[in-house]
C-alpha cells in the first residue's frame, strides 16, 4: 500500500488573542503555539494503521516553513517513511485550489494507492484542499471519512454526514480520502522515536525543484483575493444574564435559539 499523507502546520488560536497585522491580510502569530492540524494528525495515524495492517510505505507531504519539521519528524516517528516539505513563498496559500495544485505536483508521477489528508484545516477551514487534490490527481475521493476499510482494489469509506449519520461509499483505488477527526486515536510520538526518525529522509524543495510552475499556483493564478482580515465584534467577556431565575432561563433560551446554537 503506497500512501501519501498531506499535513499542515497550523497555529492553535483557541486561547490566544488574535491580532491582525497592519498589512490587513495576515495575523500576528508571535504568541501562537503551532502544531500539526488536528484532522491531519488523524490522517497520519490512519495511514500508519493501514501500514501496520497491510504493510506499505508512507510519504508525508507538507507545505510550510522550517519550523514545521518537528511536526514532520513526529509523523515519521509514528511510522511514516519519508517526507517532502515544500517551502516557497510564491504559493497563494490562501486559496486551497492553489495549494492542491502544489500538493499534486509533489505526488503526480509517482505510484500510489491512497492519499490521505485531514478533512479541514483548523486555521482557515476551507475543507477544500483534499477534494481539489483528488481532481488534480484525477482519482476518486471521499471526504470527511470516519472509517476506512480496504477491500481488494477498492476502499470502503464511511463518510460522516450531519447528525451523526454515516454514508458508506466504495471507491476504486487509487483514491484520496479526507479524514475526519475521531476516526482513530492518534498515537504519541516519543522523543526517542523522533530522534530515530532523524535518519529518515526529509526532502525540502521549492516549486522549481518540484517542477511546478510558480505562475500556476501564485497570487496571480489564484482567482480569489484575500482583501481584508478583521476581528469581528464580539463581547470580549461573558454576558451576564440578569433577572429572576426564570427570567434568566427564558432569556438564555432565546439567545441559544436565535443564535442558532441549538
Amino acid at each position: 500500500m503506497k500512501m501519501f499523507v498531506c499535513i499542515k502546520y497550523v497555529p492553535d488560536t483557541s486561547e490566544a488573542e488574535v491580532k491582525v497585522n497592519p498589512d490587513g491580510v495576515t495575523v500576528d502569530s508571535a504568541r501562537f503555539s503551532f502544531d500539526i492540524n488536528d484532522a491531519d494528525n488523524y490522517a497520519v495515524e490512519e495511514s500508519v494503521l493501514i501500514k501496520e495492517a497491510k504493510e506499505g510505505d508512507i510519504t508525508v507531504v507538507s507545505i510550510g516553513p522550517k519550523q514545521s519539521d518537528v511536526m514532520i519528524r513526529m509523523a515519521m516517528a509514528k511510522g511514516c517513511d519519508q517526507a517532502v516539505r515544500i517551502e516557497d513563498d510564491r504559493i497563494a496559500t490562501h486559496d486551497p485550489l492553489m495549494v492542491a495544485k502544489v500538493l499534486a505536483g509533489a505526488i503526480k508521477g509517482q505510484e500510489f494507492d491512497l492519499v490521505l489528508t485531514g478533512c479541514m484545516a483548523s486555521d482557515d477551514g476551507h475543507m477544500s484542499t483534499g477534494v481539489a487534490l483528488a481532481e488534480e490527481l484525477g482519482v476518486s475521493h471521499a471526504s470527511m471519512v470516519k472509517k476506512v476499510e480496504l477491500l481488494d482494489g477498492k476502499v470502503r469509506a464511511h463518510r460522516e454526514l450531519e447528525g451523526g449519520l454515516l454514508e458508506v461509499v466504495e471507491l476504486e483505488l487509487p483514491a484520496v480520502l479526507t479524514i475526519q477527526t475521531g476516526i482513530n486515536e492518534p498515537r504519541y510520538a516519543p522523543i526517542r522515536g523522533i530522534r530515530l526518525a532523524q535518519k529518515k529522509e526529509l526532502k525540502v524543495v521549492n516549486l522549481d525543484e518540484l517542477g511546478v510552475d510558480p505562475a500556476v499556483v501564485g497570487l496571480d493564478a489564484s482567482k480569489v483575493v484575500l482583501e481584508q482580515l478583521y476581528i469581528p465584534e464580539v463581547e470580549s467577556s461573558a454576558e451576564f444574564i440578569e433577572g429572576e431565575a426564570e427570567e434568566k432561563a427564558e432569556k438564555l433560551a432565546s439567545i441559544l435559539v436565535k443564535g442558532g446554537l441549538v
Partner: protein, 324 residues
C-alpha cells in the same frame, strides 16, 4: 447576466435546512447582480421536494433520474459541470455541508473556477463579488474578493440565516440528466445510523456538563431532559464522574477528555484550571453557577449566576417551546 444557481440539498427523502437558508441569501444577491435565482434539485423522485423548493418563488430545475437515488459526488460534479456549461450561472451556491464540500472543490478544479468555501455572507458591488468567511474558529473574519470570472462557486455555512417565508409558487422544470451511465469509481453502499448510547463526547456538537453542583444523582433526570431537548450529550467535571453521576469516559479535563463542541453548557461547575483546559476548544460557553466568583465565568460567553435547579427546568421548557 448575474444568475444564481442554488443547489438544494436533500437526504433520505427530505430537504435539509441549508436548502431553505440559501433561499434567504440568493434572491437578494441575484437582485444586486441583476439576475435571477434558479434552484437545482438532483435526485430520484423529486416531485414533492421540488414543490417545496418552488414555494420560495424561484424556478426549480429538477434532474430526476434513478441514477441519483443516492448522493454521489462524482455524479453531482458531472451534472453541475454540464449545467454550468448550459446555464452559465454567475454564481453556483451550495451548502457548506458534507455534500457540498465533497464535490464543489473538485468541480472548481475541473472547470477552473474560483471557489470560496464556508461563506457567511456575500456582497456584490461595483462589479465585484465579495464573500465574508471566518478563520481561526471564528476569531477572525476575512473578506475575499473574486477576480472576474464567468462563474463563481460558493458554499454557504449552515445556520447563518433564518429561512425566509415559503408561500410563493415557483415553476418546476425537469431537465434531462446530462449523465447517461453510471460512474464506476465511486458507489454508494448504505447509510449507517450513529449508534445510540455509545457517545464520544470529543465528537459532540453540544455538551451539557455538570459538576459538583448537581449534588446527587437523583438530580440527573433534570439534566437529561435538557440534553434531550437540544440533542446534547451529557458530560461532567471530575467531581461529577468521581461521584459516579456521570460515566468516567465523559469526564472533561486534563485527566479526562478534551472536547470541542459548538456549545458547552457548564452547570454547577466552578471551572478549575484542569477542567477549563479540557473545554477550551468549545465555541460558545454558557455557565450557570451560583458562585459569582467561580472561574468558569472568565471563560463563559453567557453567564447566569443562580442556582442551577431554579434555572434548568425553565430553560428546558422554554427551549422546547422555541424549538417547537
Amino acid at each position: 447576466m448575474g444568475n444564481i444557481l442554488v443547489l438544494a440539498e436533500h437526504r433520505q427523502g427530505a430537504l435539509r435546512d441549508i436548502s431553505y437558508e440559501m433561499m434567504a441569501i440568493a434572491p437578494g444577491l441575484a437582485q444586486d447582480m441583476g439576475g435571477e435565482v434558479t434552484v437545482l434539485l438532483i435526485g430520484s423522485g423529486m416531485d414533492e421536494l421540488a414543490k417545496k423548493m418552488a414555494a420560495f418563488g424561484s424556478k426549480v430545475l429538477v434532474v430526476d433520474d434513478p441514477l441519483f437515488e443516492d448522493f454521489n459526488a462524482d455524479k453531482y460534479q458531472k451534472v453541475l459541470s454540464a449545467l454550468i456549461d448550459d446555464l452559465k450561472p454567475a454564481v453556483v451556491m451550495t451548502g457548506h455541508t458534507a455534500q457540498g464540500v465533497d464535490f464543489i472543490p473538485a468541480l472548481a478544479v475541473e472547470k477552473n473556477l474560483p471557489l470560496v468555501a464556508e461563506v457567511v455572507s456575500l456582497e456584490y458591488a461595483d462589479g465585484t463579488l465579495k464573500a465574508t468567511r471566518q478563520l481561526y474558529s471564528g476569531k477572525v473574519n476575512a473578506t475575499v474578493a473574486f477576480k472576474p470570472a464567468d462563474t463563481y462557486l460558493v458554499t454557504i455555512r449552515e445556520g447563518v440565516v433564518e429561512p425566509p417565508d415559503a408561500s410563493a409558487d415557483g415553476a418546476v422544470e425537469k431537465v434531462e440528466s446530462p449523465l447517461k451511465d453510471d460512474l464506476p469509481y465511486r458507489s454508494f453502499v448504505e447509510y449507517i445510523e450513529a449508534e445510540v448510547g455509545d457517545v464520544d463526547i470529543t465528537q459532540s456538537d453540544i455538551l451539557v456538563a455538570v459538576g459538583r453542583g448537581l449534588k446527587e444523582d437523583k438530580n440527573l433526570p433534570l439534566i437529561e431532559e435538557l440534553a434531550k431537548a437540544i440533542k446534547a450529550d451529557i458530560a461532567g467535571s471530575r467531581a461529577a464522574t468521581d461521584a459516579g453521576w456521570i460515566p468516567h469516559d465523559r469526564q472533561v479535563g486534563t485527566s479526562g477528555k478534551s472536547v470541542k463542541p459548538k456549545l458547552y453548557i457548564a452547570m454547577g461547575i466552578s471551572g478549575a484550571f484542569q477542567h477549563v483546559a479540557g473545554m477550551k476548544g468549545a465555541k460558545t460557553v454558557v455557565a450557570i453557577n451560583k458562585d459569582p466568583e467561580a472561574p468558569i465565568f472568565t471563560v463563559a460567553d453567557y453567564a447566569i449566576v443562580d442556582d442551577m435547579f431554579k434555572v434548568v427546568p425553565k430553560l428546558t421548557e422554554k427551549l422546547k417551546e422555541l424549538k417547537g
